[in-house]
Amino acid sequence: MPLDFTKGSVSQDFAEKVTPGALAEDVEGDTLSAIATDADTGNDDHIKSNVAADAELSLALKNLNFDASSIAFSAGFACAAGNAGNIFKLRLYMGGLQMQESAFLENQSPALTYVLRDFKALSGSQNCELKAHNSSGGFVTLWLYGGNGPVAAAIAVGSVKLV
């Protein structure tokens, strides 16, 4: 039975129905990226990173090969706290595009878990990546916390394709 998509919230005059044959799993979305670890200690449950002024720190990256007609979904999450307020934001990239940016991360203990998720049509070898951006004019510390099961930061990606 063909599936029927009506795109977005466009008025009926402009709505276009896509009627693919079927959807099938393309890239499996049940495996996380490599887990973020501290560059000095190798720990994955208590990570301290000094981020340069106006620089981005890669927290989690997944590179996958997508089918030509693939729709990918990615969710990046981090349990994080900045060393000062109103400095760090998280950014989600898919296929070489910046898809989202969070509001400022809080600076408090315990750290909070932030999630950025989005979808995009991807094909071929593509990156999905979660980054943290330091908007200040100097080095600032970003803390990531995991431990007892939860990881500090990771990204999960899955996709479906039209067949």
Binding site: S9, A84, G85, N86, Y93, G95, Q100, E106, A121
Partner: protein, 140 residues
């Protein structure tokens, strides 16, 4: 918002699905220029490859970080966080809007120091021939 980075390709078929259709360079990704929008989050809606603009959907931050009176901004313990009031949230949105609307596009590139978007002619032509349509959306 003006955008920077490097476009690798525009796929009209992808544009009909996700409303964007643009593939960027992982080493020089397509993104909004380096202007602080303040305490807001945003999501990319679509990209205009003719005018080098991104349409983004902006939301105010739910919480606010405040420095204690007399506090040292470099001392983490001198910062407190609490839920933002409706008035503060509106202030966040006003700040983001003013950061962009009070300047021309050229001025914004100058202020941000971001370089102009690099894009192949083929991608622009493909975009003009079949621009993206409103794609799949999250329903909140």
């Amino acid at each position: 918002m003006p955008i920077t980075g490097r476009v690798l390709d525009y796929d009209p078929k992808a544009g009909q699905i996700d409303g964007i259709g643009v593939d960027g360079d992982n080493n020089d990704p397509v993104k909004i220029i380096n202007i602080s929008l303040g305490n807001v989050s945003w999501r990319l809606v679509t990209i205009d490859l003719v005018d080098d603009l991104a349409e983004i959907e902006v939301s105010p931050g739910e919480r606010i970080n405040i420095l204690k009176d007399g506090g040292n901004p470099d001392n983490p313990e001198d910062w407190i966080s609490r839920p933002a009031t409706d008035e503060e949230k509106q202030g966040f949105l006003d700040y983001a809007r003013d950061a962009i609307e009070k300047h021309t596009k050229d001025e914004l590139y100058d202020i941000s120091g971001s370089k102009r978007l690099v894009k192949p002619v083929e991608a622009v032509n493909a975009y003009i021939e079949k621009p993206p349509k409103l794609g799949l959306r999250f329903t909140e």
